[in-house]
Amino acid sequence: MSGHESTYEPKTGIEKWLDSRLPIIRLAHDSFVDFPTPKNLNYWYTFGGILAICLAIQIITGVVLAMHYTADIDQAFGSVERIMRDVPYGWLIRNVHMVGASMFFLAVYVHMFRGLYYGSYKAPREVLWLLGCIIYLLMMATAFLGYMLPWGQMSLHGANVIINLFGAIPLVGEPIQSWLMGGPSVGNQTLQRFFSLHYLLPFMIAGVVILHIWALHVPGNNNPTGVEVQDVEKDTVPFHPYYTVKDGFAIVVFLIIFAVFVFYAPNVLGHADNYIEANPLVTPAHIVPEWYLLPFYAILRAITFNIGPMDAKLLGVIAMFGAIAVLFLLPWLDTSKVKSMRYRPVAKQFFFGFVVACLLLGWCGASNPDNAIISMGEDKLLVTYTDAAGLEGQRTFEDYAPAAQFRDEQVAAGGVAAMAIQKAPAFTFKILSQILTAYYFAFFLLILPILGLRERPKGEPDSIHHSVLGHDAPAAAPAE
């Protein structure tokens, strides 16, 4: 916390000399050694440290990959294959970078849900939360740019779909689109700028991470009770060794899971299509983004209706960006005075519903929107025909043979006929994603603002050390 007395005492002559010129050792000591940290932080609080490791891994492996990668549409795919086959340990470095992106997002989602559950975005930590949202946005941009670089089928067509979204913006959409692509389509010039920006953004993330840690160290950590530190002596322990060890243990466990993916399933989170070189004339049958962007993709596709002058495409884009924008407003949307959901019995249930909704949105994003989750009835065959006299009509059939016979008869008689599958009415992924999108926005825009005013919270503990000693409930009889 800011304002705590610096306990750093330079011992050697050289440390004293440096301390009076650039007190950098003092800054590190006060931030990461003798920094008073609430003594009740659980393992959900280790993901900040895990994320710092993830960023470092991505930057180190990325700089190395850039030594071998060629940002040119004729050579990019080949240069990635060369990294995988010929460059010494190239396969390892690329797998770490590729899996690292997924692990980075896995950790950031846990980190964000943790902040959501314990109310870490509330006063006095609003700026801390906003900086975190900016980091998340930069992460998504970086991941999107990086996914284009191998110049596989998903790289090209995924980039196409996303850049096309900007075309939905009225008036300025198309100029923005061609400005982003640097031409009429995603081409060599686009790949080159994406590579340049993909290299730049992680360093911007690192910059915002420094601000994020600064904004954390002004009010100090939140904690699972949501009760602020009152007595530094009783409520906190120094960051080192207590949390360096706890974070260190969590990082080791995390890296074991990381290594399992790197060595045993490096491609399980990716798409096979991206090992086919990009071809602008052939679109993969099923374009999906990487798993960590699927919930937003589902929200984009959930909007299939027009409202007034705005068409579905524009509304989908607004909903998708709105789903991220609403995170920035969260500190002012949640009206509850109680930070931690431990003491908010109703909000807690809506929170777990929100987590489930996000996971299910991911499932919807990965699936074909028209596919049935629960089918009601059998699919039928529909033959649409125009007979020789010019009359139009249609007939449905249960089986193929009579349908085909009917169609052929119509054609033989001089008419036109076509057969198509008529899907049975069903509860489709589209409907599920519409329900979940409604819940996603309702959680932020209705539930949190209203519930904060109406909910009766359970009693919070008087202080962190009371909670640690089990005194948050009315004092029970001593065990001994």
Partner: protein
């Protein structure tokens, strides 16, 4: 020397200072804008990219009932040699019922003598939904209306490239093109 000509050192002319502040900030902002302009504009299409924006295609090579696909500036275009049945299906469609009403003739370009060649249809090859490339006769699916089918989100186009079913909002756009000769069309972006 009179008193009115000398200003006491502790007295500050606030209005004069405000003016200097505003002028300095305005000049800096203007300068920053001038520097930013080329840095932003460099991302727009370069001269050679713009120059590669038209192509002449020999339509005599297209098999009947088939199509060829060309890339111009990286954008896909379809040139389809329609069978008389396909032309008839496109012409006989009730235009009023279409999501994006256009007659088949609206989607053709007249030759220099003012006549049309309805057998040859030239359209953009990017689905108007999110820009995927629809599949056609050579890829084994023509959709429910005999034209093209977009596998990404299920848009069906008819033999005139008009949207009939699915999420795409508009017909496949007809690019700017002209008949250079009876067998040669020049397509421009």
């Amino acid at each position: 020397m009179s008193d009115s000509n000398t200003t006491a050192p502790e007295q500050v002319d606030e209005e004069r200072r405000d003016f200097i502040h505003i002028a300095a900030i305005a000049a800096t902002a203007g300068g920053a804008g001038l520097v930013a302009y080329p840095l932003v504009d460099q991302m727009n299409a370069a001269g050679d990219t713009k120059a590669a924006s038209s192509l002449e295609v020999d339509i005599s090579k297209i098999p009947l009932g088939g199509e060829i696909r060309v890339l111009i500036g990286g954008k896909p275009f379809f040139l389809r040699h329609r069978t008389p049945e396909e032309v008839a299906a496109a012409v006989n469609t009730d235009v009023a019922k279409l999501p994006d009403p256009e007659t088949d003739e609206d989607r053709l370009v007249a030759r220099s003598d003012g006549t049309y060649n309805p057998a040859i249809l030239v359209t953009s090859g990017a689905c108007t939904h999110l820009g995927c490339v629809p599949v056609g006769p050579a890829q084994g699916s023509v959709g429910d209306y005999g034209g093209w089918y977009c596998p990404c989100h299920g848009s069906h186009y008819d033999t005139s490239g008009r949207i009939r079913k699915g999420p795409a909002p508009t017909n496949l756009p007809v690019p700017e093109y002209e008949w250079v000769s009876p067998t040669l069309v020049k397509i421009s972006l």
